[in-house]
């Protein structure tokens, strides 16, 4: 392989081609930086996106599975979750998690950046909502986000560039109910095009966002950012599994060692390295990069690398309605969201809150599954056809994203036994849901049930807790201003290694109760803009 590392050292090496890596690569390329990206997976194969075909529900669970352990693709590494209440979900390939995310585009609220100041727990972020707001606006234009400005759950300002997805029959019902209850709702913000927008096609409402968008309407970065970045000269190397970051005698990172698909080892040098491997992959790589100068892992003088893992306990409440709602269709995605119970209210017996997103329930095969319907409501047997008729097209569900608080005992460590197929130690996660999370979820499930009942549901189902909901991997390389209590500073620069940056959700001091992609993108954009300015000054001075 012709690596730039042998003859010329690129300005920047990025490890990981997911959301934050994409934001960084495109901006750096726009500013004329020479960028190499190492991605362990490949480009997604949208021939396997089968929403228009009868086999869609049968095949989507295999070709677009979220659990790397179940998927077992060549790009995946094992994540031992036997000591975790929640299974970590991810997509290892170009696009990262955005390939299979539901595209809910949620900004964090101002209080999310001031948890310590407002609620007396956990930590504040090193910047405020107001600091990040301009980057949200830019990210929404770059990504292609639909929604509506003026949401009463956020300060005023510019909104997304496209109009929101329709409320649809179910959204309209629930919106009216919330108006009667005096509860918040707002048209759902989604990284889904509602009109032709750049490379994005308009959404055709096949409700397949979670299993590879067959229409090119979802703003997954493999279809938006990466083609642009590559056109602008970024070198994107797929099938490149990084095993270690290398440290020079001056304490700076000199690049990375990686293994290609044939098992050959390569060195990729760079002046600056950005790690963007998600809340599991990033601490795994830092821990793998331990050496004499950093015996506990690179950037780990605080001892916090891998700790404070947050994964958002997830709940679902389904309502059954008399009305035909065609609830297998629509964006998936969210029709509306509600932040009525997002802010802390001490009288509830827990701190922090959750965001709700109103979603479709799927096609006929989904109606037979134990999630969200519950084993106690199993469809099988003499009542099958009646139950199917009740559920299919006549149901709606709230998805509840609960904020979990950072605890050092929830963490990512290197697996002492398991290795990936390149012989690199796997990740092991240890995560227990706190009492606060359990109380929070129970409260929100009951309120969501009331919401659907007010909307006319004649029956509701609170979905059983299942482990396979860890879509959001956060907190394992915390940002902060104090190097003894954080891994990176407020710009994503590793305190211990000044030419090493982390731009993914690992850096979050607290998890918020929101789908994280909007904030991951905005924080990455803010960080890379700062990096660009710093490097310009460094160049000017040299």
């Amino acid at each position: 392989m012709a690596e730039k590392g042998h003859d010329q050292v690129p300005d920047v090496l990025i490890v990981g081609a997911g959301a934050s890596g994409a934001v960084a690569a495109k901006r750096l390329a726009e500013e004329g930086f020479d960028v190499v990206v190492l991605e362990q997976g490949d480009w997604p194969d949208y021939k396997k996106a089968r929403a228009p075909y009868p086999d869609y529900e049968l095949t989507s669970g295999r070709d677009w599975a979220w659990d790397p352990n179940a998927r077992g693709a060549p790009a995946d590494y094992p994540v031992d979750d036997t000591e975790s209440d929640i299974t970590a979900l991810m997509w290892n390939g170009v696009g990262g998690g955005t390939v299979v995310f539901a595209a809910h585009w949620q900004r964090n609220m101002p209080s999310d950046f001031r948890v310590r100041s407002l609620d007396g727990i956990a930590d504040d972020w090193p910047f405020s909502y107001e600091d990040l707001e301009p980057y949200y606006v830019r990210a929404e234009r770059d990504w292609g986000v639909s929604g509506l400005a003026g949401d009463t759950a956020f300060p005023g300002g510019d909104g997304p560039p496209m109009p929101p997805v329709p409320l649809g029959a179910m959204g309209r019902r629930v919106a009216m109910a919330h108006n009667d209850l005096g509860w918040h709702w707002w048209p759902g913000p989604n990284a889904i095009a509602t009109r032709k927008y750049g490379r994005l096609n308009p959404c055709t409402q096949r409700a397949a966002c979670l299993w590879g968008c067959s229409e090119g309407a979802k703003a997954s970065v493999d279809g938006t950012y990466w083609p642009v970045a590559v056109e602008r000269g970024v070198t994107l190397v797929t099938g490149a599994r990084v095993k270690q970051l290398q440290l020079g005698p001056n304490g700076l990172v000199t690049g990375a060692l990686y293994v290609d698909r044939d098992g050959n080892e390569h060195e990729q040098r760079a002046a600056v390295t950005i790690v963007a491997c998600n809340g599991i992959g990033t601490p795994r790589l830092l821990l793998l990069s331990a050496g004499n100068a950093h015996p506990d892992g690179l950037g780990n003088s605080s001892g916090l690398v891998g700790k404070r893992l947050m994964m958002h306990p997830f709940g679902t409440v389904v309502g059954l309605f008399d009305e035909e709602l065609a609830s297998w269709q629509g964006p998936w995605g969210q029709h509306i969201h509600s932040l009525e119970f997002y802010e802390t209210d001490p009288s509830r017996g827990f701190v922090r809150g959750a965001k709700w997103g109103l979603q479709p329930t799927g096609g006929p095969l989904s109606m037979t599954h134990s999630y969200p319907w519950g084993e106690e409501n199993a469809i099988w047997g003499p009542g099958f056809h009646q139950q199917l008729k009740k559920r299919l097209g006549r149901s709606a569900m709230w998805g509840i994203i609960a904020e979990d608080l950072p605890e050092e005992s929830n963490r990512v460590v290197l697996d002492p036994e398991k290795k990936d197929d390149s012989g690199i130690p796997a990740a092991r996660i240890q995560y227990r849901m706190s009492d606060n999370s359990r109380r929070l979820m129970a409260f929100h499930q009951e309120r969501a049930k009331e919401s659907l009942e007010a909307a006319g549901a004649y029956e509701t189902v609170i979905a059983p807790f299942i482990r396979a909901t860890g879509w959001h991997l956060l907190g394992t390389a915390m940002m902060g201003s104090d190097p003894s209590r954080s891994v990176v500073d407020g710009w994503g620069k590793v305190h211990d290694v000044p030419n090493l940056y982390i731009f993914d959700g690992s850096t979050w001091p607290t998890s918020a109760g929101m789908n994280p992609t909007a904030t991951i993108a905005a924080v990455a954009l803010r960080g890379v803009d700062h990096l660009i300015e710093e490097r310009r000054h460094a160049r000017a001075a040299s």
Binding site: P54, D55, Q205, A208, E343
Partner: protein, 143 residues
């Protein structure tokens, strides 16, 4: 015929048909699973689409061979939830591949439905969004 399909011989299909009809019996004007071909043509289709289901399904059916289907199904569900899951997915998956079934349940598949840009948009109709705005901000400001 692929070796995987050939392994689903008459005996296994008979067992499958019996338990499939316990999962999805006929009624309400709808055919049972076996009547709809879930142990025949649509089983073939499912296994071609999901060859990964073949080995676990074969193992489940071999365990049920010769047993009372009803009792065996109850036991399977308790003792081997994963095996039961594969069996149920194959049966229901095949059932819903049948175009006659899809038509009878009025499921046209995941259709392409263009987003209409109504005037006014649906969130504005009947004062829906105006009611939210009138209730005012619900967030805590940055201290």
């Amino acid at each position: 015929m692929s070796p995987a399909l050939a392994s689903f011989h008459h005996g296994r299909r008979e067992v499958l048909a019996a338990v499939a009809d316990l999962l999805i019996p006929s009624g309400d004007g709808m055919p049972s699973a076996s009547e709809a071909g879930a142990a025949g043509r649509w089983l073939d289709e499912v296994l071609q689409l999901r060859p990964d289901f073949g080995p676990p399904l074969a193992a489940v059916l071999d365990r049920l061979l010769g047993a009372d289907p009803s009792a065996a199904l109850i036991k399977l569900r308790t003792d081997d939830p994963a095996g039961f899951g594969v069996l149920a997915e194959v049966v229901a998956g095949g059932y819903f591949l049948n175009p006659k079934v899809r038509s009878a349940i009025r499921y046209p598949g995941q259709q392409s439905v263009a987003i209409a840009h109504d005037e006014p948009p649906d969130y504005e109709q009947d004062g829906l969004i105006a009611s939210v705005i009138a209730r005012g901000p619900i967030y805590r400001r940055t201290p």
